[in-house]
Symmetry: C2
Subunit: 239 residues, 2 copies
Amino acid sequence: MPKTKKAAPVRGPRKAGPEATRQKILDAAEILFAERGFHSVSVRDITTAAGVDVALINYHFGSKQLLFETVFMRRAELLNAERLRRLEAVVQRAKPRAPKVEEIIDAFTHPLLDRSARGGPGWKAYFALIAQVNNSTEFGGLMMTRYFDPVVHAFIAALRRAFPGCDERELYWSYHFLSGALTLTFAETGRIDNLSQGACRSNDLDSVHERLVPYVAAGFRALCSKSSATNVRRKRRVL
Amino acid sequence: MPKTKKAAPVRGPRKAGPEATRQKILDAAEILFAERGFHSVSVRDITTAAGVDVALINYHFGSKQLLFETVFMRRAELLNAERLRRLEAVVQRAKPRAPKVEEIIDAFTHPLLDRSARGGPGWKAYFALIAQVNNSTEFGGLMMTRYFDPVVHAFIAALRRAFPGCDERELYWSYHFLSGALTLTFAETGRIDNLSQGACRSNDLDSVHERLVPYVAAGFRALCSKSSATNVRRKRRVL
DNA sequence: TGGTTAATTCAACGGTCGATGAAATCTAAT
DNA sequence: ATTAGATTTCATCGACCGTTGAATTAACCA
């Protein structure tokens, strides 16, 4: 780990500097972790791709595991800021009424899908990584909770206003289904391309978003609208 | 690899036999792969858990990778048979009318969620493994396609009858969202437990199923009903 | 310019990885 | 009982793993 004595002097025109090294490592790690997962990428794979010495991962990040968490955190903070801002804007703009469900969902999903589509390969790899972590038994619960909980709570709070009197469980399960649909989209596995014989393309995220929002909105309404009466009827019908 | 000379004699009451060894390895591998992923489980981890010699994985399965695929295939065949049977029954029972969307979805999801809930730890681990594979960039497209395509095509075909004249892409994307919601459920990461502060439990799969069916059915209807008119309006509204 | 410290390089550590060849054991049919 | 083949055990292979201490280079300050 580097000594952090005098918070980044860097005044003269450096050749590259330690910050550039850090970023090169993070960029390479991000792509490799996304492509092949945490355990099947070696620190030598990363440093070779980044064009730096192997020892620099442990010097700058402490360990491979801590590098992984740094990769995860780097873009999470940018995302959280924008998503919270958008959610807040949607809620404020609608006052004193509750916001439209579609607008809430859009504020939650658009910052992600837009960056995955147009933010460059770093963002694309980052979201593929999220897709893996979200569905992983070993990392899923902990890391997603640590870095994304504030946004999700704000999202649920906005929906709570849109569905007054709705049972909390309906809101959380509805979010759960959205989370699954969204993160599978990030993975871009190409499966839908094969299935549809080319009619759908995994990397056409605009088409996905255009459909995800009304799909999920309809799901939320089915579970969360006038909950008591609907739920009684529903429980009779299924199974 | 074992020589397959005379397809399983096994008449007398054997001590254990090679088939028992194979099953012990598969059972141990299934659980470990589900818990920690393919790359972070060593063949020694598996053989130790199974109580057999390390060399037996390569003898019976050829390699670690082929063992992984065997684990994947073993239960897939059982599942596919029942799901195809259920889908066929739903379609036949409704004739000459189209089946109800909820019934089609139930035929697709119930065999999975029911086994994950009540099939024992082997089935639970298996579905957690599916959750990882489905969202993995390296395995996702290929393995899911290889083992589950027939069922998905039958599922889409049934839905095509329920939504006559619907654009194919709407059907496939709707399936995509269902796939994401369903597989995240299998992972049982505990994230929803944390988020909801205990109001929802990841392992309460009956509650999930009870909600997944109407949620997804509403999503399908939003995208696939009287598609042309609805879609024109939808594309204006979003983004 | 000399001294201090951060950043980088290099070589190597002990450990574990997946896989395999040879020997030993067991099973089944003669 | 003998024999042939299937199964299991054992020891070990070379390769790669994450990490680290020591040596080297570069940047800053007095």
